[in-house]
Amino acid sequence: MGDQIIQSILDGLVSGSIYGLMAIGFTLVFGIMHVINLAHGELYMLGAFTTFIMVGVYQINFFVAILAAMLIVGGLGFLIERYIFRPLRNTAMLNTLLASIGLSIFISNLVLKIAGTGMRSIPTPFSDKSFTIIGATISTHRLMVLLLTALLVAVLFWVIKFTKFGRSLRATSQDQDASALMGVNINLTYGLVFAISAGMAAMAGGLIGSLYVVDPTMGLGPGLKAFIIVILGGMGSVVGAIVGAFVMGYAETFTSLFWAASYQDLVGYILLILVLLLKPNGLFGGAKR
């Protein structure tokens, strides 16, 4: 049992970082733009498909393909912000919410039309070799997911905390008008935030999609899960999204270990309800507003 607990701690770490990759992008868009983007999962799906096309069809290097998918889907995110969310800016939040639902239905059906329902798998360059760390094993692929996620989160934190651009992001999320008065280009900032969020979703899609199966509906689950985690952690809080992701990852892992894998999702929802009962704004949704 001891070994299994150590193994589960490692498994939870991987699950948590996978969730974190999705949840951070989701929470950034909400925190800065006040948009609940329910099409986030579809951007993840697009990232997986883009990676699949490049690696599976054109035999491009896996990492190059993921980077390219991030740029392509990120660029798409920029356009989505420009042409769908900008016209709705400063209107009731329900409008952007509805638009994002519509967008998600549109994207997944478009891909379904073009690609069909068939399943696809992204070939990866990782060997079958796995690593053993104090009795727990992890495959090369998962270790890579863990490291790349950690790297990305570290870079993101550094940007937000220490760069001029990051400062303007925080300023804009705290007070849009005052930022405009400081000379922040709000349109550009929003476009970039959406692009970053979409790029992160695409990275998740390429990295994680290759662990699972690539199909047009694959974004549904991860998109919803990201939303739940962000509510759990506190809407708009990046730290909350990360903590929420690990809380969720570990709750599921230990449910699976001590109970049954099929109750994982159930426990996630119970956890959400419990947290919201005790802290209606989520774990890190503290005093703000």
């Binding site: 400062r167 303007s168 000379g183």
Partner: protein
Amino acid sequence: MLKIENLQVHYDKVQVIHDVSLEVNEGEIVTLIGSNGAGKTTLLRTISGIKRASGGSITFMGEPIHQMTSHKIVEMGIGHVPEGRHVFPDMSVYENLQMGAFRRKDSQAAIKKDLEHIFDLFPRLKERSQQMAGTMSGGEQQMLAIGRAIMAKPKLFLFDEPSLGIAPIIVAEIFKMIKKMNEEGSTILLVEQNANAALKISDRAYILETGKIGLEGQSSDLLNDDRVRKIYLGF
């Protein structure tokens, strides 16, 4: 320097600025007085490009700016100290001041030097440079908002009711500050409900009544105008 001609501004279908014309010359302090809801804040927000005019024109340094985005207007040299201060609550005093210099393209050293200058002007901000701005008192936040605007080195300052909700001693300090800034070469458009203090430090004044200019003239004349005294000065 700033010339507003026949300005019209709407919120949806409701017009709140009617045909306003106004001028601020280089080196002046111009006061805009008006009661609550007259449209003063709306006028300043329109100058800054946060709100769009539906008619008329705004010219700054000879260039039309009423179609410009707000960050371009900041670059042109207009600094806006908004009503209610609007400091960034979850950022430190230091970071708030850095945000003020967001559009500046000169060296880090120059910006640093100006930061020190702000701390000289407002020693209290220096003491609290690492404190979150949202946790400070109203007066301190007002000083920060002014310091933040100075950091952009604008040619024209827009002040929106800097005395609102602030202890009287600090109000006096702030008005002294504004006067001093003007003496050092800044041009200022000051919006106030505290007509007495504002008229005393300004050169000229406009009175805005439900979106229209009701009266304009030298501040000293308006101070002695019967109607102004009755309505705005409370004598």
